[in-house]
Symmetry: C2
Subunit: 457 residues, 2 copies
Amino acid sequence: MTEHLVVIGGDAAGMSAAAQARRRRGLDDLRITAFERGSFTSYSACGIPYWVGGEVAEQDALIARTPEQHRANGIDLRLRTEVIELDHAGRRVLTRELETGKEQWTGYDQLVIATGAEPVRPAHPGFDAPGVHGVHTLDEGAALIDTLHEDVRSAVVVGGGYIGVELAEAMLLRGLHVTLVHRPAEPMPTLDPDLGRLVRLGMDKLGIEVVTGAEAVEVLLGPDGRPRAVRSTVGEHPADVVVLGLGVRPRTALARAAGLTLGAHGGLLTDETMRVAGTDGVWAGGDCVEVLNLVSGAYQHVALGTHANKHGLVIGTNIGGGRASFPGVVGTAVTKVCDLEIARTGLNEREAAAAGLRWTAAVIESTAQAGYYPGATTMTVKMLAEQGTGRLLGVQIVGGAGSAKRIDVAAVALSCGLTVGQLISLDLAYAPPFSPVWDPVLVAARKVATLVGQGPS
Amino acid sequence: MTEHLVVIGGDAAGMSAAAQARRRRGLDDLRITAFERGSFTSYSACGIPYWVGGEVAEQDALIARTPEQHRANGIDLRLRTEVIELDHAGRRVLTRELETGKEQWTGYDQLVIATGAEPVRPAHPGFDAPGVHGVHTLDEGAALIDTLHEDVRSAVVVGGGYIGVELAEAMLLRGLHVTLVHRPAEPMPTLDPDLGRLVRLGMDKLGIEVVTGAEAVEVLLGPDGRPRAVRSTVGEHPADVVVLGLGVRPRTALARAAGLTLGAHGGLLTDETMRVAGTDGVWAGGDCVEVLNLVSGAYQHVALGTHANKHGLVIGTNIGGGRASFPGVVGTAVTKVCDLEIARTGLNEREAAAAGLRWTAAVIESTAQAGYYPGATTMTVKMLAEQGTGRLLGVQIVGGAGSAKRIDVAAVALSCGLTVGQLISLDLAYAPPFSPVWDPVLVAARKVATLVGQGPS
C-alpha cells in the first residue's frame, strides 16, 4: 500500500527530507505532499543579508531548488497553502489556501514538521510601521531592498547578533549611515564581552555607530508614517529605515496546539533520528526544533540552514528505510562584518557557568598566516578548558581574512571530547601562506593547557 | 648538581627544546649548550620560497629567534660549530669549529639530536655546477636570489612535490619562464594522480611548463660553466638557473655512526616522549626523526617545521620535568601555486594499498563559499573511507582561495578515528561568505558514506 508523507514547510529541512525520501522510495511506494505558506521553496535565508547589501545581485541566486524542480521530482507541492491545524490523533492536517481561503483536511501516514522560526519583533510603538523591516524571508528581503531609494540615507539596525551585524554591513555597503542599537554591553552576545569588544572596535573602524547598553523602545515616525528615528533608552538615532536583527524563535504554535511536547526554548523535541518525542511517524527538523548541545548536555535553539539540511537528510533517510541520526550540535557559528571575521563554538564563559562547569580561559593574539607573509592578518583566539580534566569547552575567534573557518578544528575536537593537551598535538596544515608554524588555535591550546597543568599529549 | 644539556642543531626542534627546558629549569639546575653548523638559528625554512619569489622582502623576516636572543635566554650557543662525532657510551660529542678547525669533546647528561634533513641532489652530470640551487637553508636561498639577474630568463625546477611547486611559483613571480621537470605522471605525488592532474592544469594556466614522466639526467653548461639547459629523459629544457625540489632525507650520519637505531626511511626512531629508542637521556626531533602515522600505523619521514616545533616542545617539557608526548601525525600537508590551493591528509590510494587496507574513494566538486556568493571559488575534494567500518582514511583537496585549510577538519577527524558517517554530522561553521550550506568536506563525506553504506550518525 502506498504510504502518504505530508511535509509542513517547504524550505531546507522539509524539502531536504522530502527529496531524500523520494530518492529512496518510488512513487508507488510513497506519495509526498508538501505545504508551503509562502511562494518559494528551498532558499538560503542566510544569504538574504548579502542580497540586501548588493553583493548577491539576484534573488534567484538564493533559491537552491524551485517549486517546479520539486514537482518534477515527484513531490506534490502546494504553495501559498498554510497548515492551520494538526490533528495528531486523527493523523491529518487542515490546510487553508491563502488566495481562496479554501480549507481542507489531508490525512498522512508520516508527517514532517518543518515550520521554521519567526523573527522576534518587539511590541513597542512604531515597530509595525512600513519601513521597519525583518529579513527572515525572501519577501521581506525584497521589501527592504525596495525601500532603499536615494532619499534613504540612514539606517538603524536593532540587535547586534549575527543577523544584526550582517545587516549593518549590508546597509553600509548600500552607502547608508548605520547605527546599531544593541541591549548588552558589547555586540555579538554569543561571544564573551572581551571578544565582543573587538567586534565593536572593528565596526567602529568601518564607520558603523555602535550604541550598546541601549534598548530600542520606539520607532518615531515622520508625517508620511515612515520612520524618521529610533528612540532608545539612551537617545534618538536618525533612521530613514529600520532593520530588525533580534533573532528568531521556533514557529511551533501548530505543534503546541496539537499537544506535541515543546522544550524550554519553545522548540519541538526529537530523538536522534529526528522523530518527535512520544510520537510514531511524526518527524521534525530545522528552525522549529531544539537540538542537543553535546558540550553542555542541554537542549538549545539554533536557527541555521546547515542544521536544517542535516535534519532533512536524516528524516528523509529514516522515512526512506535507511538508518541515520543527528547526534547534536556543539554550537558553532560564524559571520563577518566586511573584513572582520567572527566565529565561536562550544561554550562561552556564561554558558560554561550555566552548565555548572569549572573552566579556565586563555586569550592569545596571533596571525592567520605566517607573521612574515605579505598581508598576514591578526586574529584573537579565546579558549576555555575544563579544570581538572583539561577538556576543551569552547573557542571564540575574531580576526582578519582566514581567521574564522579555523573554528572548525575546535568544532571537531569538541565533538570528539578532546582535551586541550590533545589539541596541541593535532596535525594541522602548515605552510606560510596558510598559518604560522603554530596554528593560532594551537597557540591558544598551549596557553590554556599550561594554565590547567596539561602538556601536549 | 647542575645537569648539562647538549643540543645538536640550532633550528626549530633543537632550539624549541632548549628554550622550553630553559623556561622550566633555572641556570643553576640546567646548563644548556647548543651547536649549530650554520650562521642562523630558529628560522623558517618553509618561508624560503616566498623570500625567493619576492613576496617576503627581507631574510630577517624568516628568523623567529636570533642567536643573540637565545644567548640572552641563557643558552650557550656555538654557531659555525659542527658536531662530528657522537660518543654515545661516553656521553660526549666531538665538535669542530668551522673557521678554525679546532676540535673539542663536550660531555652531556642529556642530548637532543636535531640535525635536520639534507636535500636530495642527484649525482648526474652538472648538478653540482654553480647556478644549480637547493633552497633548504637561508644561505642557499640567498645564493639563489643573488643569481636572479636580468639576464636570467628561464628556470628549470627539478621535482614537482611541495618545494618544487612552491619554487615554480617563486620563479614565475620573478618573471622567469619556468619549466617543471617531474618524474611521475602528475605533479604533487602525495596526491592521487586524478587530483595531481588538477594541479597540472592549474600550473598550465599560470604559464608554467609542466613536463611529467621525465627524469632530469644532466644539467648542460654554457661556456661560462653555468647552466644553459636541463636534459631530461624526454628532451632539453632551457635553463639559465636550475632549482632543486627533490625533497629531503633525514641527516642522520652522525647518529648512525654512533650506533643509534634508524628506521626504514633513515630517520631516528623515538618513543612518544621523543626519547630515542633504546637510550637514556638521548632525545631527537624535527626533520631527522621518523614519526608514526596514526592512520597507517607505519613510521614515515615528514620534514615540516610544525612537527619540529612540536617535537621541541615535547622534548623540552620532558627534560624540564614535565610530562609531554607526541602521539604521531596523520600526514597533513598544504601548499599553493599562486591562487591554486593544494592540501592532503591521511592516506592516498597508494598509501592505503600499501597499508593493506580496503577502501572506497569519492570525488566531489563544490565551492569554498556559497555558490551564489561573489567570487566563490571551486574546489575538488577526494575522500577515502575504509570498506566495512566506514573509517575515514584520507582527504585530498585542490581548489581556489579558502579551500586548503579545510583539510584540518579531516586531520582532526583522522586523529579521533571518526567514520565518514560521523563526519556528515559535524557542526562545521556555516555562513555564505565561508561555506555552502553543506561544507565541501561534508559533501565528500556524504558521497563516500553512501558508497560504503553509512548514513549520518
